[in-house]
Amino acid sequence: MRIIFCWLLGCASAFGALSWDRLPDLPDREGFAGVYAGIVIDGGEDFLVVAGGANFPEKRPWEGGEKVFYDDVFILPLTKKGEWRKSKTKLPAKMGYGMSTSRDAGTCLFMGGKNASGAKDDVLSVSIKNGNVVIERIGALPAPMAEGVAVEMNGEVIVGAGGDGMTMTKEFYQMTLPDPTFVEWKALGWPEGGRGRVYPVGGVTGNKFYLFGGRDFADSDGEDSERIFDLDWLRDCWELDVKQGKWRRLRDLPVGRSAAPSVAVPVGASSLLMLGGVTVEFLRDQVEARPELKGQGMEHPGFPPSVLAYNVVTDRWSEVGSLPTEGTLPPVTTQLVFWEGKVILPTGEIKPGVRSPQVLIGEVRGTQLSFGFVNWVVVIAYFLGMVAIGYRFMMREAASSTEAFFRGSQRIPFWVAGLSIFATMLSAITFMAVPGTAYATNWNSYIGQWPILLIVPLVVMFYLPFYRRLNVTTAYEYLELRFNVATRVIGSVIFILFHVGRVAIVLYLPALALSSVTSINILVAIGVIGILCVIYTVMGGIEAVVWTDAIQALVLIGGALLCFGLVVSKVEGGVGAIALAMCEQSKGLTASWNPGDLSIGRSSQSGFVIFIAFMFANLPSYTSGQDVVQRYVTTASRKEAARSLWMNIGMVLVGSAIFFGLGTALFVFYQDRPDLMDPALPAKDSVLPFFIMQNLPVGVAGVIIAGVFAAAQSTISSSLNSVATAFTTDIYGRLLRPGSSDLQKLNVAKLVVIVLGVVGIGASSYLAIIKTDEVFLLFNRFIGFALGPLGGLFALGIFAKRPNGLAGLLALIGGVVMVTAVHFLNEFGIVDVMPLLYGAVGFLSTLILGLIVGIVFKAADDEVDGLTIWTQKNHEKIF
């Protein structure tokens, strides 16, 4: 008696990177090989359509059975978990072994194929209308073709390989649909030196097309070890950059493989899975066991179940589990179908000449490493330490006045302020993203750290004197003095809005990265980071913030160093191997320093442009961001403040080099040990926490994860306190309640910290629940448009004598309009500017506009007395 296969009812079993289950069997005794299959949508419901194919209905091939082709079309309602039914609609001919792909619009394409009378060139569009299957021929392939591959990539169909039975199709084609009823093809070429092939596997990840294995007629090029039945099994694999039209050879498969379900499954951020398939060694074993049947027969054990993963970052193959072998057998020569993040393997050949009506459905499973008790103890101890610091400063003074709460009574040592600036500028996601970037790409973003060499001298020489001498609490007070109250309030509001959005993101991203690879629940992570941060910020004010920042900076750098050391010790060749990878595998600095190449487009590789872009992206933070500027006024003197900035240069250059080095080390490590890499790793940012959890001893892992929390908290606590400072000083104390007492202001500041904290935690949890941060990133991006102009406004004030308040205001608005305009021109493809340059666009356009408008709207000399570098004569001189 057969079991009834219920719909995903708990009979799932675990097999490596994928967990498998069954859908209802196809209502056919035998099943088919070489079916067409896809997902079709009708009335908002998804249906699996499986059609055509061939089997041996009466006798097996070794009993002299005849292969029969079919034109039947079967439909399974997926959304409603219904039953299979056989459509009254048929394919135009009895055929199989074609190429299929599902389209976003809810139709699928069945292309090419063959039957006893030869190969086909039909392109059939399959849809379901009011429950009825409709199959229309919308065009033809460039040539008759079967046993190839088809994939969909960004809505475009790519089809190729295979052959017409006589010759191989050594070409891939991209389909263009001038109108939905007419098909045209664009040739994408064929890898140079690559042999033609049938039954390869095609895949798409990261906007590139991949071609793996397959088989060809025996040829003098073939290796003997990969030859059987006058066919050569192929090991070579290729990558096609469709945009640039370039093929690149990748690492070979461990052994030749063909006939695996025709599409590779993209998992995580950078892996493609090949599900099963046939190898020569396996076939030889079968022939040896049953020479009289050439390896066929009912005693055949079924095809190899192993699942191989190709990692596009490390360019390595590894075996990552297997297809299920209990109750079902691994299918070959069948069409793989993607549906709702799952993969479906309908029917297929399970032994030579034997089909199965089975329908498998698999879901990618990430590895979740248990965080464990000891690690939690370490993290909790760390958190308690942070809260204790907050408590200590509260007891000391912080709770008593705004002076203490906002400026720490100006008694912070320079080195603490320096560490604090470093920690504030480096968010938790940077801690994970920088190694992630170096792991996945190269060191080019390190160039982004170099402008600190120019920024610090600029700030120390031209900005610091004003902030110190004018004895401001917020940077925006300067704007009122130099321009007018409107610029001050606008500047302050821009800053506040940006940080309101930022708190949510800064909480969400590290929590997401952590929860994706560890057993830490994302909401718990958000809650723990957020709540404790609010507590010590409210209690201890700026002093608690900068002291915890300093500790957090040390934990961060220490953690990164520890990881780096550990990876180096595990990698054969140590630092040398890492250096080698940087040189030979383009993992180091690959940017171009050719002064002739100053492209500002999105794909620019110019080191100069990257440098300029980062220069103006970061300068506003150091000159007009309250979270950093506030540090300048917490030290005892201007000299101390300057020293903290000088110290920051070293921190930034060395600290980030450690992070980049760590990323490269991780690359080398996982290239060495591809088997240790989880193919389902969701994003490059997860590689560091994954490595930590996988390889660091219990407790040590806790310290590093505490470092991740630390990085998040140092950024958030700075945001909380600086927003409270800006709101209380620039909005509440200036506009709403100008005459309010210090105690009132202090209470408002604490309230702002709490409200902002709660809103941030709430928004962040909301992101975690809806699982997308697009809206927030959009919000932050648009607010971010104003940061460059704000930096430009400060520069205008300090470096220009002429422009008055109105000029400043107009320049600020003009700058924002400019950035927004460039952004939209970029979106619509009218210009091509890397978004990183928006900071420079805003900064410079505000500055230039201000200078121009300033010719008309002039400030009187006494209005700018002591407020520009040209009007310092009665005051402390800069030079």
């Binding site: 009812l9 978990k81 039953e83 009254k88 609609t89 009825n132």
Partner: protein, 391 residues
């Protein structure tokens, strides 16, 4: 004994047509359709008042089939098609369980109440889907009918279990009901353009013939795995009306195949044996249960007169008469036709009573319940009318 004259046959034809269109259907339509939730509210008392708003799944399928069939064969009446659509939609949307099996009883809104191990809900649903698919031209219903039919064949062949068995394996038995109902389902599916080959029909008839015992002159309701009579009280129980229904399914197949002699013989034997067993010599009518050896029957409603065995006997005798011309069948038809219309027809409110005592007194005045509804009676009226149209 005398045969029917042409005039009598014409009168009969007109009678069946009139009783279907002017008596039976007006009793049910249009109130039976649940305008709010779809499907049919078929549980009615004598004068048509609703006595229960639950929905018997069998009846949803049966009436949807009846309506679509009238649309296909009698007149393209939009009301019939839409009434049928209401039923098939309700079946599709509310009457299937997660495992693909169907329920037996659901609430008015379509929430499941009861599911039974045997799969008659499926049978009537296939009939409904197939005939509605043909009527509406919407192929999806035919495809659904095909899929469900082939699934049921799997249950029938013992390849798949439709549910947990209630009996141990100590004494396995098989029933006449399943092959019989699916014979008719297969015929309807085939004639609606669905996927049912004559091999499948032959296989089902083969199964039915295992229940026909020429030595005992009877059709068993249940037999052992090898077709043997099982000498226990429940297994000895015969259901003459049911066997007679099976007889006309086979006669109908014989007629469709150009009066296939083998099938005519089988159908007539079944009818002959069970008429003898079922006809109440004392009060008339087909009696409900008999024991194969004349021993006492377990069920105490054994001697009641249900409406449907009379309906089936009316069809079977008329069809047998038409196929063979044997005057015996004309006489039997006259007997059961007269008896049934005299005792079962509700002259005051129309339609038929369902349950009479042996002597013809009304037992329950319900016109619809979990089992009775607009099916056997209108089917008989429609079938006989159509049969006589060909005279």
């Amino acid at each position: 004994m005398r045969k029917y004259s042409r005039k009598e046959l014409h009168e009969l034809r007109d009678f069946y047509r009139a009783s279907l269109l002017d008596d039976t259907l007006p009793f049910w339509l249009p109130e039976i359709v649940d305008e709010e939730f779809g499907g049919y509210l078929s549980m009615r008392d004598r004068n048509g008042n609703l006595i229960d708003d639950d929905k018997a799944v069998w009846l949803q399928g049966r009436f949807a089939w009846m309506m679509a069939t009238l649309y296909n064969t009698v007149e393209k009446k939009a009301e019939w098609l839409e009434t049928s659509r209401s039923g098939v939609k309700f079946l599709q949307e509310h009457c299937f369980d997660q495992d693909g099996r169907m329920f037996f009883l659901v609430t008015r809104e379509g929430k499941a109440l009861r599911k039974r191990r045997y799969f008659y809900s499926e049978a009537f649903t296939i009939m409904a889907f197939a005939s509605f698919g043909k009527a509406s031209g919407e192929m999806i219903w035919l495809e659904r009918a095909d899929a469900l039919f082939h699934k049921c064949l799997g249950y029938l062949d013992g390849l798949v279990a439709p549910g947990e068995p209630k009996w141990t394996n100590e004494r396995t038995m098989k029933g006449l009901g399943e092959p019989m109902i699916f014979l008719q389902v297969g015929q309807i599916l085939r004639d609606s353009g669905g996927d049912c080959s004559s091999e499948v029909i032959d296989r089902l008839i083969e199964k039915i013939s295992n229940f026909v015992k020429d030595d005992l002159h009877c059709v068993m309701e249940q037999v052992g795995p090898n077709g043997e009579v099982v000498d226990h009280i429940d297994a000895r129980t015969l259901n003459p009306g049911h066997a007679i229904e099976g007889a006309w399914f086979i006669l109908a197949e014989a007629k469709r195949r150009g009066n296939d002699p083998g099938l005519m013989d089988l159908g007539c034997r079944m009818l002959d044996y069970m008429w003898e067993r079922g006809w109440d010599q004392e009060h008339g009518g087909i009696i409900y249960f008999r024991d194969v050896y004349g021993k006492p029957v377990q069920e105490y409603w054994h001697d009641m007169k249900f409406w449907w065995p009379q309906c089936e006997a009316i069809i079977a005798t008329l069809l047998a008469y038409q196929l063979t011309g044997d005057v015996k069948y004309a006489e039997w038809h006259r007997m059961v036709h007269d008896y049934a219309h005299r005792h079962f027809h509700d002259k005051e409110f129309g339609e038929w009573f369902g349950y009479l005592h042996r002597d013809g007194r009304v037992s329950s005045p319900a016109k619809g319940n979990h089992f009775k509804g607009p099916f056997h009676l209108p089917r008989m009226q429609w079938y006989c009318w159509q049969l006589l149209e060909q005279e």
